[in-house]
Subunit: 318 residues, 2 copies
């Protein structure tokens, strides 16, 4: 039977998985995304993560039928340009070619959020819906739109829900704009916000927990731990994120009236059901048709959704 590799390249972590032709996960592995260096260093870690996953699956990585990659940035012919949240990746880098050379199999690269949305639509929480909004709550906040069972891409850049404005003249976003939903809810923006609050004299154990866990940033896991420890500031910053997500996602639902909203991404998956429920509640006061809100669900494929969606890129080609 054919085996496929999938890699989800995130701002925080590289998630790799090996699947068979029936989309059964045979093995997986994860490495942190390098915070320094450039695209070549990131590609090296991606190769490493894939080899780890192949080892976990007990398959020969050179025997894969194909490898799919979900990546941030602009993707054209396997090259990735201006991948935000990745180190030194302002220019263009031939990611598909680099991985083909190092791994010896066919590589296809797609937009990370789109492949993850597609995975949830075809195999996950959205499989009963014909219209869907994927909300990927992680380092940034990405969005995928499925309408009439097909991805809606617009002129190529649709789905930027992280940059829906929830507060005119509000908080500065990592993109430089003011008042974007991501400026309140993105992991990177939340971390910067916590730093500001500490400077102003607020107390939190977030960075202590980070060091204990030998991390260099406030990962989704650290946020979850801080909640578990009832860290007040962490709770407040997450409340602020939920409020922004509620308003921003409700705004889009008012315009698109989709059947389903699927909450994925590092934070979305880690904080899970209770937070999906809180986002749903935060949407309600802003929904124009509040008598039949869309289904709001956590991404079923969890952390592996991006990697599984990436596999669909090579499988779809046959």
């Amino acid at each position: 039977m054919s085996t496929f590799g999938g890699i989800d390249l995130g701002g925080t972590k590289i998630q790799a998985a090996i699947l068979d032709a029936k989309n059964k996960v045979l093995g997986s592995a994860r490495r942190p995304t390098p915070t320094e260096g450039g695209p070549a260093d990131v590609a090296k870690e991606m190769e490493g993560a894939l080899r780890d996953a192949a080892k976990d699956a007990k398959v020969d990585p050179t025997k894969l039928t194909g490898l799919g990659v979900g990546s941030p940035g602009t993707i054209e012919d396997g090259s990735v340009t201006s991948a935000r949240n990745l180190p030194g990746w302002e220019g263009s880098f031939p990611l598909a070619q680099t991985l083909e050379d190092s791994l010896g199999c066919k590589v296809r690269v797609g937009n990370d959020v789109r492949v993850a949305t597609n995975a949830e639509f075809k195999l996950g929480a959205g499989r009963d819906s014909e219209s869907l909004l994927g909300v990927f709550w992680g380092t940034g906040v990405g969005g995928g739109v499925i309408l009439n069972g097909e991805p809606w891409l617009g002129r190529g850049a649709a789905g930027e829900i992280g940059h829906v404005v929830v507060e005119i003249g509000g908080a500065r976003c990592t993109c430089g704009r003011l008042g974007c939903m991501e400026a309140y809810a993105g992991r990177a923006a939340m971390e910067a916000h916590v730093g500001d609050l500490i400077e102003k004299g607020h107390k939190t154990d977030l960075f202590k927990l980070m060091k204990e866990r030998d991390r260099t940033r406030l990962t989704s896991g650290i946020w979850a731990r801080a909640l578990h420890h009832e860290d007040k500031l962490a709770g407040q910053v997450l409340d602020r994120a939920v409020r922004a997500l509620g308003a921003g996602v409700a705004s889009i639902v008012n315009v698109l009236d989709v059947e389903s909203v699927v909450i994925g991404g590092g934070l979305g998956v880690r904080l899970g059901e209770p937070y999906a429920k809180r986002i749903e509640e935060a949407m309600l006061p802003h929904l124009f048709v509040d008598s039949r809100p869309p289904k709001v669900q956590v991404a079923e494929l969890g952390d592996l959704g991006g990697a599984i969606g990436a596999v669909l890129l090579v499988q779809d080609e046959g």
Copy 2:
């Protein structure tokens, strides 16, 4: 040659038009929407406006091939339910049947914003675009979405751009929610806001101009006059509206990445090019892909767009 009637039922005015089979406007007429009474009174004025338009076109109103109506509210089988901004119209009223009985021709009723969007898409400013956002800036702020050349309706209630949140916990909207774009930009909300400002001691000639022109509310024409008179408060309230429209429309463009934005509605058409330009400028700081913003144009069919779109409802039926 066949002749058709079209009526656009707005919160402020009833606009009627008579068209031939080639969509040439043969005559038109306008009456203010009643501010008191109920649906039957509104229907009576609609009949009157249509008879006025028929007189203007020199055609016999009983000889029309069909009459199309664009109406606010929820429309099902020619009945209109909970039409906001219309007097005493919380329940359901058989509008098509009532007009068929009084005028003696076939009547079709559609959603006002959708028929106006369709008219601009097929015959107006959007005719070169395959994807389009119609922004109807009037008593409220309505939206129509065209994707891949087809109206996108979602589960039936898509397009509520007036209720996109631009300010969490912000101004109270006429819908009761907080921070909606319409709470800043809708004519009704702006009028209420001006009232509040006057109570707080601010000065404006808006209501003086209203009385001079024998109006009972701040119509689009009164706003335009006040601008002409360089009324400072009117300018400020419109600046606030433009800021909200810029943020709200940019948010939707970030998600849908449409080719075109068409600005219609009473205020949109009356304030015209200079304000479409200002909205475009207000969008720019919020657009994620600001290197190729969508075309932003004033509705070409102007005040008659809604009535012309309503005609398309009966023409499409053959």
